[in-house]
């Protein structure tokens, strides 16, 4: 099967005694944006290094773009891969333009496209002429993204791409990622800023201590996690007891600040509960439905993992 951009089968990576990656299976399809989440040291970066061929697996098999990324003949594969490492560093004495030229030459990408790349990631012409040593974190990250996009990659690894970026920059960052994904590029995003991944990722992979503990779309993970949905109602405090008596079982009320009461219920009961509140509940000023966030689901999967 060559339909997958990357295939990881039963891969384990040991560094001496410690196991950084343990028996991970993972497939990445074209045009898919996959978010990999996990604590520091959960094995995210180790897995990326394995897929880049920087390290070789202790057990298992990896195929990237139809070949072994660590083999001697991997150059054609690597030309089609973009990588933005965590804590990216450049040679401080080279200018932005020289840096990108250097990487473009190494990758065999035409240097004529560099100006367009600079513009795409939002680096000003004045900044390009300056030495990288004078760059701010945000500018360095833009340059890092520019080098990752060299040569139009089919597979893009972004390791903690948005740490240290301001919100506006994050948005333009994800706009670029979405654009690439729509063009058929596979994007693997690593982050622990979970909230910003919502809406960006087609699929979420949760890693913990080297193991893959969950893999699926946000909706799949939600139903797997069976976390309660919370319904927040703004209403007069006097009516709360009345409400609980009427909408009844399965909904545990909690009083929040500002005259808000929160009811937690299972996802399947959500619609029924809302109907009961609307039809025969007391007068409600406002109603808000809060889905479990990625943060909560992540915490849930880790708890489940710890319990096993």
């Amino acid at each position: 099967m060559t339909d997958f951009t990357a295939e990881v089968q039963g891969v384990t990576k040991r560094y001496g005694e410690t196991e950084a990656v343990r028996g991970v299976d993972l497939t990445l399809a074209p045009g898919e944006c996959v978010a990999m989440v996990g604590h520091n040291g959960a094995g995210k970066s180790s897995l990326i290094k394995l897929m880049l061929g920087l390290t070789t697996p202790s057990e298992g098999r990896i195929r990237v773009l139809g070949g072994d990324p660590a083999s001697a003949a991997c150059s054609p594969i690597r030309r089609r891969i973009g990588f933005l490492p965590e804590n990216v560093a450049f040679h401080p004495n080279m200018t932005g333009r020289e840096t990108l030229d250097f990487y473009a030459r190494l990758k065999g990408a035409p240097r004529g496209g560099n100006d367009a790349l600079f513009e795409r990631v939002g680096l000003e012409p004045a900044a390009i002429r300056r030495r990288v040593g004078t760059y701010s974190k945000g500018m360095r990250q833009r340059l890092a993204l520019a080098q990752a996009l060299l040569g139009g990659p089919r597979l893009l690894f972004l390791d903690e791409p948005t740490t240290g970026l301001d919100p506006a920059l994050r948005q333009s960052f994800y706009a670029i990622v979405a654009e690439l994904r729509d063009q058929g590029t596979t994007v693997l995003l690593c982050s622990h800023a979970l909230t910003e991944l919502e809406g960006q990722a087609d699929r979420v992979v949760v890693m913990n201590r080297g193991r893959k503990v969950a893999d699926g779309s946000l909706a799949t993970l939600r139903s797997l996690a069976r976390l309660p949905v919370r319904i927040r109602l703004t209403m007069p405090a006097a009516d709360i007891d009345d409400l609980v008596r009427r909408v009844g079982e399965g909904a545990a009320p909690t009083r929040l600040a500002g005259g808000v009461v929160e009811l937690a219920c299972a996802n399947d009961d959500k619609v029924g509960l809302v109907r009961r509140i609307a039809c025969d509940g007391p007068a409600v000023h406002d109603i808000e439905i809060v889905q479990p966030s990625l943060d909560e689901m992540y915490a849930h999967f880790l708890r489940r993992e710890a319990a096993e």
Partner: protein, 274 residues
């Protein structure tokens, strides 16, 4: 081939930027000029020209200085890039590890070559403009000294690369580099001398081999015994008669001291888990 040049070019450009090239060239030039002026002073009836005097004093100083510069330039080459995080990105590019190592080495060797040729060449130029006529034999000796100095620098650059790939920590790599310099440049000759003085009865044959086991000694022998005019002044004419090591062999030894550490470093580097 192209990849090697790209990496070497970047390394050279960077060394130019952070003033390594300028600093070493100025240092070598100042050293060579000072010694050549001293050498131009009347040398009495010994019957040697200013070039020979300069070669003897300059090569003796080169032995101490050039390995130090080469090691300082190279000990950080691999371990430093891993430390700063630039290595991970570089290795994700379509570049073989040996290409990366060799390319960087070529860049650093070019820095040494540039500094040596320009610095020592300036001294040669001032001597050529002096009043004393200088024969072609002297010029050959001077050119040979510049060439072998570049090789000496390359050999110690290669040793620095080996130190840099061997360890995971910059401090340790720096320590190894200093130790390499101390051992090969200072302690080795002292130990050899001690061995001779103690009269342990090692033969000429064994001494020859021991001298070859050190690139600095090979360099010294090549410059001080290789040319007749030089050896008569250096007081090594007697030694030259005894040491049966022809110049091509000494050069081959120095070349081996470039290739062997570099090959070992490349082998270690390709197995390294970054």
């Amino acid at each position: 081939m192209n990849t090697l040049l790209i990496i070497a070019g970047k390394e050279l450009r960077e060394a130019t930027r952070n003033r390594w090239v300028v600093a070493t060239t100025l240092l070598m030039g100042a050293l060579a000029l000072t010694l050549s002026f001293l050498g131009s002073a009347p040398t009495g009836t010994v019957g040697v020209g200013p070039v020979e005097v300069t070669i003897v004093s300059l090569s003796s100083l080169t032995i101490f200085l050039l390995p130090l510069i080469a090691l300082l330039l190279s000990f950080d080459a691999v371990v430093g890039e891993i430390d700063r995080g630039t290595m991970t990105l570089l290795l994700s590019y379509p570049v073989a590890r040996w290409q990366l190592l060799l390319g960087k080495f070529l860049g650093h060797a070019a820095v040494i070559a540039l500094a040596t040729v320009v610095g020592y060449g300036a001294a040669g130029l001032t001597m050529a403009m002096g009043d004393t006529p200088i024969g072609p034999e002297s010029w050959r000796a001077f050119a040979a000294m510049i060439g072998s100095s570049v090789m000496l620098g390359a050999a110690f650059t290669a040793l620095g690369y080996l130190a840099s790939t061997l360890v995971r920590d910059r401090g340790t790599a720096a320590g190894i580099a200093v130790a390499v310099w101390l051992c090969f440049v200072l302690l080795y000759d002292m130990a050899l001398l001690g061995l001779l003085v103690a009269g342990s009865g090692i033969g000429v044959e064994a001494l020859n081999w021991l001298l070859l086991a050190n690139p600095a000694d090979a360099y010294r022998l090549f410059n001080l015994t290789g040319f007749k005019g030089v050896s008569s002044f250096a007081g090594t004419a007697g030694l030259a008669a005894h040491v049966q090591l022809p110049a091509p062999m000494l050069l081959a030894v120095m070349a081996a001291w470039v290739a062997a550490p570099l090959a070992l470093a490349a082998a270690l580097f390709s197995r390294k888990q970054i």
